[in-house]
């Protein structure tokens, strides 16, 4: 596989994430029903279906990886399209948060047509910082940040130590999974779950869960052979 991330790779990543969200729609909604308002699965599914629609309209290949169409095109432009689509279709808190993630990743990626692992790690970091600025959440507040920050950090360290793209993305997915599971005992301090106070402890955060699916989708789409995401594991 290639050691860089292209526009085509981003398209494949988004398609893999859309599939994972669709497969885990009920699971995400059930997690949200416990500490939120029972709409995270359906909102993310609606948003990612719209993203896939956008990709189809842009003439992206149907399946990842195998197209001979070439990968030309700015990575940043596609990331921004994904962000704007999510902002206008997801709603709730997840819309502006995931929208900001991709919009700010798009800004950081700029006009480059392919990004090295190190550059990709910096792009993801810029997006995650955007999410933190928008939602004002810190690590440990029981939010998507608890999955995204460890994933970003794992990706950055993997890039520094010269690991392959596949290894780096799998490491990031594993870190996101760990961060997601670590939200279970936490008391929520942001979002609707914070109204529950102590009663929010003992539940896995739905936003951290969809963020893990996002990192897992990157590993799956760009690092073939990675294990698939399954609900409740």
């Amino acid at each position: 596989m290639s050691e860089t991330v292209t526009q085509e790779d981003v398209g494949a990543w988004m398609r893999a994430f859309a599939k994972a969200v669709a497969a885990n729609r009920e699971y995400l909604t059930d997690l949200d029903a416990a500490i939120g308002d029972a709409d995270h699965g359906s909102n993310m599914d609606r948003g990612m279906k719209a993203v896939v629609g956008k990709l189809d309209a842009l003439g992206e290949p149907e399946e990842s990886g195998e197209s001979a169409a070439g990968a030309a095109g700015a990575v940043g432009a596609l990331l921004k399209t994904v962000g704007m689509t999510l902002v206008s279709t997801v709603g709730g808190a997840a819309g502006p948060l995931y929208g900001t993630l991709f919009l700010d990743m798009g800004k950081a990626a700029g006009g480059a047509e392919e990004l090295t692992v190190a550059r990709w790690a910096a792009v993801l970091k810029a997006g995650v910082e955007g999410v933190q600025a928008r939602g004002k959440a810190e690590l440990g507040d029981k939010t998507m940040i608890d999955a995204l920050v460890p994933a970003t950090e794992a990706l950055r360290v993997a890039a520094l130590s010269g690991r392959s793209l596949a290894d780096a993305l799998q490491g990031a997915a594993a870190a996101a999974e760990q961060g997601m599971k670590a939200t279970i005992p936490l008391v929520a301090r942001k979002g609707r779950a914070s109204y529950l106070g102590e009663r929010s402890a003992g539940h896995q955060d739905p936003g951290a869960t969809s963020s893990w699916l996002l990192m897992q989708a990157a590993a799956e789409a760009l690092a073939p052979g990675a294990p698939s995401a399954r609900p409740g594991t």
């Binding site: 308002d37 709409d39 902002v87 206008s88 709603g91 948060l97 939602g135 609707r192 109204y195």
Partner: protein
């Protein structure tokens, strides 16, 4: 449709769109309903020289907010999916559609998603040269307001703020003054609710939470979020005592205050029961030397099919009273015209 869900809908995913089509069909004389992005505006928008009021929120709380669009209240409402706040593109389009050159007030209920989406919309509108002032409503005393929560939720005071600010805008008061009034209403209003049943989101197909046949959730939110405590169902006078005490102690309201008492149904409670609650509330307030000089009884900010009610008290002065009494002509509230 999920097993056990009984609703007058076709497909769950079509319910919001079809309801908006119904609103357009029923009230085309007074409202225009725009789809893609979805928003409802008064038929005569934009009104030149008048501050425009835009609000919005998830669907499932009807008549709020679409039912409050019209003369003397909102200029536009942005309905989201059920219990999901609308998106910035809707708010931006609505803001542009109603801007009459005097600026736009965004009335935002304090929920994380609503605040962030309205924030993005205000940034976009300001980029286009429209003056936008957002005011966040957070009147629910059931929720502790601290650094460690998202803050109090916005509930019943939203309806009162939309009415009072709408009247002020009709008098051609400037944006800063209308926004100031909105903050004044929020600062002088407190609310708390109780649920006797859960509600069922159409797309979820099952009740949002489980509540035993003999239980109630005290301090419930308008999306079925849990409140302060779950306990055994009690007679109306005890429930009113608990809700009203929490509200009165919080502001605090004191002997000699004049208030607007708002008893609101959550969607699944008969008006008869709301009047039982109002009767208890009126007696209790009288006993504490607080006089109810205005009232509102009915289902105005609902949570789909949830049974239960909320109480909102607003401390009135002459200015707020006069604005409350001013003419309003919406599908949800109408008097003086």
């Amino acid at each position: 449709m999920g097993a056990g869900m009984k609703k007058l809908i076709n497909r769950p995913e079509d319910a919001v769109r079809e309801a908006l089509e119904g609103v357009a069909t029923a009230h085309g004389d007074r409202l225009r309903v725009h789809s893609g992005p979805n928003y409802i505006v008064r038929a005569d928008a934009p009104v030149r020289g008048k501050v425009a009021l835009v609000s919005g929120g998830g669907s499932g709380h009807e008549p709020m907010h679409g039912g409050f669009v019209g003369l003397g209240m909102l200029d536009a409402a942005c309905p989201g999916e059920v219990f999901t706040c609308p998106t910035p593109d809707q708010m931006l389009a609505a803001t542009k559609a109603v801007d009459g050159g005097a600026g736009v007030l965004h009335i935002v209920k304090n929920y994380t998603g609503d605040v962030m989406n309205f924030e993005m919309a205000a940034e976009l509108a300001q980029d286009e040269g429209i003056a936008v002032e957002p005011v966040v409503i957070d009147d629910d005393v059931a929720v502790k307001d601290s650094l460690y929560t998202a803050g109090r939720r916005g509930v019943g005071a939203t309806v009162l703020a939309e009415k009072i600010c709408g009247a002020a805008a009709e008098q051609r008061r400037p944006l800063a003054e209308v926004a100031g009034l909105c903050r004044k209403v929020n600062a002088n209003a407190r609310s708390m609710g109780v649920a006797l049943t859960s509600c069922t989101v159409p797309m979820a197909g099952k009740p949002t939470f489980e509540l035993g046949a003999d239980e109630m959730e005290v301090g419930v939110g308008i999306h079925g979020e849990p409140g302060r405590e779950r306990r055994a169902l009690a007679p109306a006078h005890e429930i009113v005592e608990e809700l009203a005490s929490a509200i009165l102690d919080d502001l605090p309201f004191t002997r000699g205050d004049e208030v607007l008492a708002f008893v609101n149904g959550m969607g699944g409670t008969p008006l008869m029961e709301l009047y039982v609650v109002y009767n208890e509330l009126h007696k209790l307030l009288g006993g504490r030397g607080i006089s109810v000089t205005r009232n509102l009884v009915g289902s105005y900010i609902t949570a789909l099919d949830m049974a239960g009610c909320s109480i909102t008290l607003l401390r009135l002065d002459d200015e707020l009273t006069a604005l409350w009494d001013a003419p309003v002509n919406t599908t949800g509230l109408r008097w003086g015209v």
